[in-house]
């Protein structure tokens, strides 16, 4: 499993480096998802399966989809920051394909070699995490829920079109 750690670390670094150098925001998002997947594999190898699941479900599943929504909501062509890309040639598939194949290879190797589990042999099970969350960290969980509520209200207020201002503009014109 140690090999899996270093392979995933390499995938994470390479895909993050590719992410910050992309011209197209959607391409960058997809590289970011790949980076998050490899970090989730690293969490699993380190013996934190609950953290790995959270990383995939919340980070790659929810937050990245939020990014996609906003990029699509912006005016068409906004995701092309500097130049417009033509039809992608075959060379456009090489780098992402190789990186994704490394992750697929890791999974098949782990499944078929029978060494499924964390590298150290010991993992912190999800029930321990749950007991800690609703025991010692109960007030932190409550504060997190308040933070989410504040984020919801703030996002609604910032993103809505101001109806009063638009009415004023309509009357003046």
């Amino acid at each position: 499993m140690t090999v899996v750690f270093y392979l995933s670390a390499a995938v994470a670094v390479i895909s993050t480096a590719l992410m910050i150098t992309r011209e197209n925001a959607i391409h960058a998002l997809l590289y970011m998802v790949l980076s998050l997947f490899s970090v989730a594999v690293i969490f699993f190898v380190l013996g934190a399966p609950f953290a790995a699941a959270l990383e995939v479900i919340i980070y790659a599943g929810a937050i990245m989809v939020l990014f996609v929504f906003v990029i699509m909501m912006l005016a068409p062509g906004a995701h092309r920051t500097e130049e417009s890309l033509g039809r992608p040639g075959l060379s456009a598939f090489v780098v992402p394909g190789v990186i994704a194949l490394v992750l697929v290879g890791e999974i098949t190797w782990v499944v078929f070699s029978g060494s499924l589990g964390p590298a150290s042999g010991a993992s912190v099970a999800p029930d321990q995490v749950g007991a800690a969350l609703f025991g010692r960290y109960l007030s932190a969980v409550e504060m997190a829920s308040l933070l989410l509520l504040a984020g919801l209200v703030g996002a609604y207020h910032l993103a809505r079109r101001d109806p009063a201002r638009e009415d004023e503009g309509g009357e003046r014109s």
């Binding site: 140690t2 750690f5 994470a12 670094v13 993050t16 480096a17 992410m19 910050i20 925001a25 960058a28 998002l29 970011m32 980076s35 970090v39 690293i42 969490f43 190898v45 380190l46 013996g47 934190a48 609950f50 953290a51 959270l54 919340i58 980070y59 929810a62 937050i63 939020l66 990014f67 906003v70 990029i71 909501m73 912006l74 005016a75 906004a78 920051t81 590298a119 150290s120 042999g121 993992s123 912190v124 321990q128 995490v129 800690a132 969350l133 960290y137 932190a140 997190a144 933070l147 989410l148 504040a150 984020g151 919801l152 703030g154 996002a155 609604y156 207020h157 910032l158 993103a159 079109r161």
Partner: protein, 103 residues
């Protein structure tokens, strides 16, 4: 606890990811890329917590990762709403266009 992966290697990886995210924030001028790079940095902070928690065999690291996730979700929601407002106000996603305060 004899971990097969040394703690230092996880910390080095987190450091590399943090440096990459910081580079992205400093180099890119597109607001979306800046937000994504901030996500990378938050993710590397979570990696440090999980690695330390796994090293000590305690669940606290994963609890901290969950709190970081909540913080990242709230930050992204507000940040993307700000991106929409910026786009509506300035008509571009370039962060330099929004520097009219001259800060």
């Amino acid at each position: 606890m004899t971990a097969a992966v040394p703690l230092e290697h996880s910390l080095i990886l987190a450091g590399i990811l943090l440096a990459l995210g910081l580079t992205g924030v400093l180099v890119r001028r597109n607001v979306i890329f800046i937000l994504l790079s901030i996500e990378v940095m938050l993710n590397s902070a979570g990696l440090v917590f999980v690695a330390a928690g796994a090293h000590l065999g305690e669940p606290d690291g994963q609890v901290m990762l969950m709190l970081i996730l909540v913080m990242a979700a709230a930050e992204v929601a507000v940040g993307l709403a700000l991106v929409l407002a910026l786009r509506r106000h300035f008509g571009s996603l370039n962060i330099d266009d929004a520097s009219e305060m001259g800060g």
